[in-house]
Amino acid sequence: MAGGIKKFVVGCFEDEAVLFPAVKNVRRAGYKIHDVYTPFPVHGLDHAMGIRETSLHTAGFIYGITGTTTALTCISWIFTKDWPLNIGGKPHFALPAWIPITFELTVLFAAVGMVLTFCYLCQLSPFVKKHHFHPRATDDLFVMAIECTDRTNDSEVQAFLQNAGATEVNVQHAETGWWIGRYDKEQKLYADVEKGY
C-alpha cells in the first residue's frame, strides 16, 4: 500500500565496523539511504545515518499524564460524589490510598500507548507484510538500501557500495509500503535453495 514501487540499490555488509564508514561515505556522496537493516540494535547507527531523535517519549509523557488524570478524576468522582463509602474511617478524599492505582494507570496508559504508537510509526501489525531486502538481515547480515531517483546511475552506486566494503550488491524494485497477504515465492525467508541456506 501507501508507498508504491521504487528502485533500490542494496548493499550487504558482513561487519558493523565496515558498515559505519560505509554509511558515512554514502551520505557524504549524497545518496539517499532508505534504511539500514541490522540483525541486532547497533549503538550510534541512528546518529551516523542522521536520523532525528524520536519523539516517542513525548508521546509517552502525554499518555502518562492522561493516565494520571483519568485515575484521579475517576476515583475522586466515585468516592466523593457518586458512591461515598466509609472505609476504615478514612476521609472520602483519601489521596494516599489512591496513589498506587494512579501510578498503575499512569504506567498502563504510557506503556500501551507507546507500544501502539511505536507500531504505528514503524507500520507494524499482525498480518501486515513488508518487503525484505535480504533474508539474512534478520540473521547475520547488515543490509543497506539506497533509494534511486530518475537520475541515479545505479551501476555507479553499485560500484560505490562495493568499494565501501559490501560483499553483495544488487538492484531491487520493491514495494516501500505495507500490504496484507503473502510474500512472493522468491522472497520466501530462509529458503534460498540456490545457496543452500
Binding site: 549503538h43 517519549h57 509523557f61 476504615g88 474511617g89 478514612k90 494516599p96 490510598a97 496513589i99 498506587p100
Partner: protein, 413 residues
C-alpha cells in the same frame, strides 16, 4: 590534558573556610549549648540535646553518603560494567573519606551511648526498659554492648573492604597495561572483594545500621522499610556528590575520557533513585497511614500534623517533585549546569530528610535550623573536600590500565 591533579588555591580556600566555619560552630556548641549537662528523655536541657542530635544527624548522613561511593563501585564491578571506568577514581576518592568520617561518627555514637544520653536514645534508660514491655522485648538488639560492637565492626569493615578495592585499583597504575590473563585475574579479584562489600553493605546499610543509629531514636516505633528508605536517601545524595566532583574536574579540563554520555548516566542514577526514594518513602507512609495503629502512627503524627509539617512536605518537593519534573527529559541530564544545580538540591534535600528523621524524636518541637546546624554540616563538607582533594592529588585521575577503559571511552547511551 594532565592526568594528575594539583589542589587549586580556590579549592583549598573553600576547604579551610568550611572547616573553620564548622569548628566555630562546634566551639559555639561546646560553650553555649552545654553538651555535657545531662537531660532526661523528653524534658529538660533542650540545648544539650540539640548539640548531640545535630552531631548525630550530620555524622551519620555524611558517613552513609560517602560510603555509597564504594557501593557504586561494588555493583558496577559485579555487573561487569565498563562505562564508569573513565570516572572511577572519583567515587574511589570519595570513599576514601570513609575511615575519617567513620572514626568521627564512632566517637559521636559512643559519646551518646556511653554518656547515657537517654534524651537521644530512649532505650539507654535501664529503668525505663525494665518497666516497658515493648522496649524490654527489643533489649537483645537495642543495648549499649551490641550497639558498640556492631558499629565498630561495621565501620571497620566498610573501611577495610573499601581499602582493598582502592588498593587493587591503584595497583593497576603501577603494573602497566595488562595482557588478557593478568586482566582476567585482576578483574576476578575485584569481583571477589566487591561481592564481599555488597553483602556486608546489605547487612549494614540495607538493614541493621539505620535501625540502630537512627530508627532507635523512636525506640517504640519500628518500620522494616526504614533501612531501605535511608539507603535510598544516602545513595541518591552520594551519586549527586560524584556528579559534583566530575563537573568540578571536567571544568578544570581534566578527566579526559568523561563525556556527556557519562554525565547522562550519572544523571539517570540521580533521577531513578529519586523516584526509588519516593517509592520507599511513600510505601512506608501509606501502610502506616492506612493501618492506623497507634504505636506506628505516633511517628508521623508529629511530622505531618505537628511542628514538622512544613519540613515534611518540603522534603517531598525537594526530593521528588523537583527531580521528577526537572530531570525527566534527556537534555537536562546532559546539561552540566543543571546537573550541578540538581546535585546540590538533592544533597540538601536529603540532608533535610535526615534532619527530619532525627529531630522529632529527640528535640520534639524545639528543633532548629540555625547557623549551628549549617555550621556542623559545613564541617563535614569541608572534611570530605579535604580528603578527596588529597586522594586526587596523590593518584592519577584516570585508571589508564583498567581492562575496560576502552569500553568507557567509546561509551554511548
Amino acid at each position: 590534558m594532565s592526568n594528575s591533579f594539583e589542589v587549586p588555591a580556590n579549592y583549598k580556600k573553600w576547604t579551610i573556610g568550611l572547616i573553620a566555619a564548622g569548628i566555630i560552630a562546634l566551639l559555639y556548641g561546646l560553650i553555649a549549648l552545654h553538651p555535657f549537662e545531662h537531660a532526661g528523655h523528653g524534658t529538660g536541657n533542650v540545648s544539650s540535646t540539640r548539640f548531640w542530635a545535630v552531631l548525630l544527624q550530620n555524622s551519620v548522613f555524611w558517613l552513609l553518603l560517602v560510603n555509597t561511593s564504594m557501593f557504586f563501585i561494588g555493583f558496577t564491578t559485579l555487573a561487569m560494567g565498563g562505562w564508569q571506568v573513565a570516572l572511577r577514581r572519583v567515587p574511589e576518592a570519595i570513599s576514601s573519606v570513609v575511615p575519617v568520617l567513620g572514626i568521627i561518627t564512632f566517637v559521636i555514637l559512643m559519646s551518646i551511648v556511653w554518656g547515657g544520653r537517654t534524651d537521644i536514645f530512649h532505650w539507654l534508660d535501664k529503668d525505663a526498659v525494665a518497666a516497658d514491655k515493648i522496649l524490654n522485648g527489643k533489649k537483645g538488639f537495642l543495648n549499649p554492648v551490641f550497639f558498640t560492637v556492631w558499629s565498630a565492626i561495621t565501620i571497620f569493615l566498610w573501611w577495610f573492604i573499601g581499602q582493598k578495592m582502592r588498593a587493587l585499583s591503584l595497583q593497576s597504575d603501577q603494573a602497566g597495561p595488562m595482557d588478557y590473563e593478568t586482566g582476567k585475574t585482576w578483574v576476578n579479584k575485584n569481583i571477589l572483594w566487591a561481592s564481599f562489600f555488597i553483602v556486608f553493605f546489605g547487612l549494614t546499610v540495607g538493614s541493621t545500621i539505620p535501625w540502630l543509629w537512627i530508627m532507635s531514636i523512636d525506640a517504640h516505633w519500628y518500620s522494616t522499610m526504614f533501612s531501605w528508605y535511608t539507603f535510598a536517601s544516602s545513595f541518591v545524595a552520594g551519586m549527586s556528590l560524584i556528579a559534583l566532583f566530575i563537573v568540578f574536574l571536567k571544568n578544570r579540563g581534566q578527566l579526559e575520557y568523561v563525556t556527556d554520555e557519562h554525565l547522562h548516566d550519572i544523571g539517570k542514577f540521580m533521577f531513578a533513585f529519586s523516584i526509588f526514594w519516593t517509592y520507599l518513602w511513600f510505601s512506608q507512609y501509606m501502610l502506616i497511614w492506612y493501618a492506623n495503629i497507634p504505636e506506628e502512627t505516633g511517628y508521623f503524627k508529629i511530622r505531618v500534623q505537628g511542628p514538622y509539617k512544613g519540613i515534611f512536605f518540603l522534603n517531598l518537593v525537594l526530593n521528588f517533585v523537583c527531580p521528577l519534573l526537572i530531570f525527566m527529559k534527556k537534555s537536562p541530564k546532559r546539561n552540566w549546569t543543571l546537573v550541578t544545580f540538581m546535585a546540590v538540591l538533592i544533597i540538601f534535600g536529603h540532608w533535610i530528610d535526615f534532619w527530619q528523621m532525627v529531630m522529632p524524636g529527640t528535640l520534639g518541637e524545639h528543633a532548629e535550623l540555625m547557623p549551628f546546624e549549617f555550621g556542623i554540616a559545613a564541617l563535614f563538607i569541608g572534611i570530605i573536600m579535604w580528603r578527596v582533594g588529597i586522594y586526587f592529588s596523590k593518584y592519577p585521575l584516570t585508571a589508564k590500565n583498567h581492562p575496560f577503559l576502552k569500553e568507557s571511552m567509546i561509551h554511548h547511551t
